[in-house]
Symmetry: D2
Subunit: 338 residues, 4 copies
């Protein structure tokens, strides 16, 4: 942590900074510049220290953190890539893992049909939402417990692990008994009570990026889950909010290589929520694979025209089949099996 | 809702749009342009309808919603300004209401001292956090239940209503028994389970704006609370995330007049979280009052240098005293009592 | 264009809207909703009409444009993909075109060495800046005319067309006599005098996206060039400004498929300025190709450690060689020759 | 400048950093942390140095600039507030200066009428655009030279100084002979050729903030003007681009106190372009004055319904009269004469 003193800061002000550092058990190093003094604060946990601790002191111009605020998810903490195992399927390994299915579970027929379609062309995990966080209270909120039961039935029928979203700390136990991967959605990425709750489970967790959170905040949120003991975390990029309005969100494809440098956790991409439109999904899916994603989470509906939620961004069976065929050579070009 | 057909859309495609509208009990009006057909979808609840319902149909180029997605909070729903009454203090009326106090409750002495200071110069509601949502799991998370008890003791001692944050649906009952206003924080603005839970209480709720949510999404989130029966909602602007990095967030002062046009709910402003620095807080507080805010929520600490959380954005007693003195003529200039 | 009247708008107010439409030679269609009247304004040039024309009238709640504001670059204007020919090299055709070279021309040796390196592994166009727009007046501003002469010499020596930036309308004539493609940089995307000036040339123009401009604004800016008669426009995505700070800009990979739907112009991608760091460039380059870009514009320096400008985002010869090898199978996977 | 080495960086890598610093005539100070080495680079011009110079070296993890990149506009360069004198009117002094008039000069009658109206209620400078930068080439581009002549005539008739926009370096001489203040618009804030050209004049310059530029970039752009010798620079906040779509841009009211700390230059606010709607302009104007702005730049049209450009954001004569009356007590509350 670097504390820049104001031009003309007094000795007493500088001493207050060094005294506080010593109080906190931190080392210091003085840098006497031509115009101003800069104090370097040294210690192994300065990433977790608030900059305010020094910034409030008189005579301080600015405080800059050098260490990252995340710790347990950092590649400095663990150098080797983590592989999250879901019923024998490895996420973060050599194989590109495709998770697909409808946005919302609607009924037995729709879900079973979805599983059949996506499994036939190579998807290995089924997605489907039972608890749906919706912008308006007047929109369809999901089938809830009934949806979970359908997921459970279909995963057994097709032998596919299932991923579904959890939106409240109360529901973690219930939902995890019906699924194989818990999904924490974008709007809950900073719901720390929920993060702690899923951290107390053993079940793999897909942590979607908050649509206005930096990669650093996202990795720090993942620390909440690991801090409780659950190491089975998969990150999922799903687009960020920008000024651009031709897509629902802007897929931040750069976050893939950024995370690969900063962390050892697997990262997958949801091109459907980023694009918001089925015609754009294939390009984004291909870009994600080319950029190094470990997997994809794609919305597919047997009949998007009749979907209760997000029909426009759902691929039809034929679109999905074509996409899977087109993804194969790209996956292979970046050294993946598929 | 306006459905623009693609240039060259077939009669069959247009018929599918009108058939779907009729199925949904909606009226339609055809607009035959020179190049393309535009279908207007008519009905009183088209604001709550998903655009996807039409956008997925073949031959559709784009769908534009004309009606707003929020309903119960809309000025079309209720023309007259709402006044939320907190133990006799009216929020949304002629008086400018100042809520002030520390970011986090630290101990009895700090809280009582804060109450004494802010009450002495005109603040009428005490703020203080017991459950703190923190970016890192390694940061101080608040005193929790013990903090609530301190809030309860101090509100009685000083005769000031208290506002504190709730971060999980489980805690709503507990927290509401110790405070007078429940605060839903920025990171939980789209935690719909929590919104529904506070909606089932009678207690006034301050709903902070999600730092990356539009005014429209914010008002729609408020609909969740009203839909459950709780009409005592106060909106709180607290800055949005932008590319600008000289402040912690960018105070969207425009949201005040925008909300005053769109809704009848009171709106207050938190200049502390927007600024992130005590030296910027007074200017933002004054701007908010001049722009028409009904109140302010300000962080004040007896000794910011020793604050456990957010010391840099907390006003010292002398800074707060000066600000309150300077706010008075501005409040009066815009027709407020103070 | 859709004009939504306020609830309770009077007949007189509605008549004023229809009268103005007729004055402008536009058709109208009335949509009498349950709550409010919506007037559709019909005509072939409503995309170029300002919404203000109606929005200022009393009783109008909002005005929504349905038609796009751009015209000449639109796929509705020309269905077939354009191919821009640069000395026999086709941009926008089947071949993936790679343009590479240093950010700034520094001296004869550096430029010639760059040309040799990039040509050897498959780049077909040489980039190099002589007029450099720099954030600070105290930074190196480029070799200017001397830089142009070096570009001219090297393009002849290596038989490679050259692309270089123009930053002022005055310089368009001079610069175009030394290069094969004029580049309009991100900060000048809305410098309309410059756009008109390059529009009066016949030389191909690469129009970089303004880092905070929407795709719609970008296409409308391209209309300025086409409106003056120059049809040889190539669009270049180079990252947009967002809140994310782990990269210099956020590459908006979605803009590639969005533009392919909306326009017939070729689109290339500059992964270097988006990433800001050489370690991230390869992933972004691969993502761009997979998403359908027609070409790449990449910064390569014989010795990035000694670069005068943007060394951190420049690839070294060995990095570039590896990238070109890795791009080949991805290009082929999406049906490109390379 | 702070250079953080990677964990495990070798002595040779660290030596390369210190050698480069010495080559550049800079001092260094080593900070040996528990995990990694941090090198502080010391010198008076490190704000103008590119971080890339060190970031490209092997073993470097990150480089953080402590000094600001701007220099001549900095409060460290000059402590005392500058006052820009326009024909005896002081901008940056005790008086709140209001500049008002139409977006575009349309004809003699419209401009004279505007001058009459705004002067009558206290505006002291007349605004009016002759060269209009427009998003679409098919929109009205201003009266150009004819517009300048009208401005000249009307400023003499009403004895009011005039401000008008310059959009190309070629036009600087011409335009400055017809006006009293040159305005550099938002889209040209990083048109460095234009900045240098206005820097060579003596005429006061209003430098509008680029709608996606940080305060730091804005101040650095102002350095271009001062570096050429023109010290008469007035900064103008006019809203930034964010995700919020209920206003045309988001007025960054925080930039006012931020600039007051960082620079000695006067800062004014244009609430019209930020709001985009006349009903929101008064709140923003009041907020700006309360936050400490030195002046306002407001669009007023004798008859907004007939305005050729931006009618929706123009105040009518009666709206402007009311606003000026309402601004007076706010200006006085913050210690301004009006």
């Amino acid at each position: 942590m670097i504390v820049e003193m104001r031009k003309g800061a007094t000795k007493k002000e500088i001493d207050a900074v060094t005294a506080r550092a010593k109080n906190l058990g931190l080392g210091i190093q003085m840098n006497q510049g031509t115009d101003k003094t800069v104090v370097a604060i040294l210690g192994s946990n300065t990433g977790q220290l608030q900059t305010d601790v020094f910034a409030v002191l008189p005579g301080v111009e600015s405080v800059t953190r050098i260490m990252k605020p995340y710790k347990l998810v950092s590649r400095e903490f663990q150098a080797k890539n983590a592989i999250v195992n879901v019923n024998g399927i490895e996420i973060g390994g050599k194989r590109l893992v495709v998770m697909a299915g409808p946005c919302a579970v609607e009924n037995q027929g729709q879900l079973a049909k979805s599983a059949e379609i996506v499994k036939a062309v190579g998807a290995v995990i089924l997605r489907g939402g039972a608890f749906k966080p919706r912008t308006s209270p007047f929109s369809f909120q999901g089938l809830k417990k009934e949806g979970l039961e359908l997921l459970d039935r279909v995963r057994k029928q097709y032998g596919m692990p299932v991923i579904t979203e959890v939106t409240d700390s109360n529901d973690v136990g219930l939902i995890s008994s019906y699924c194989d991967i818990l999904q924490v959605g974008s709007r809950n990425m900073q719901n720390y009570v929920l993060l702690s709750a899923v951290g107390q489970m053993k079940c793999p967790v897909v942590l979607k990026r908050g649509f206005s959170c930096t990669v650093t905040e996202w990795l720090t949120a993942a620390d909440y889950i690991l801090a409780e003991g659950n190491k089975n975390v998969i990150l999922c990029e799903r687009g960020i909010r920008t000024f651009e309005d031709s897509t629902r969100f802007s897929l931040d494809v750069s976050s893939i290589p950024v995370i690969k440098r900063a962390s050892y956790l697997p990262v997958i991409v949801d091109p459907s929520h980023a694009a918001g439109h089925y015609q754009l999904v294939p390009s984004l899916a291909k870009a994600a694979v080319a950029a190094g994603a470990d997997g994809l989470l794609i919305e597919v509906h047997p009949n998007p025209k009749e979907a209760l939620v997000d029909g426009l961004q759902s691929l039809s069976p034929s679109d999905f089949t074509r996409l899977m065929r087109e993804l194969k050579p790209i996956a292979e070009a970046v050294g993946r099996t598929f």
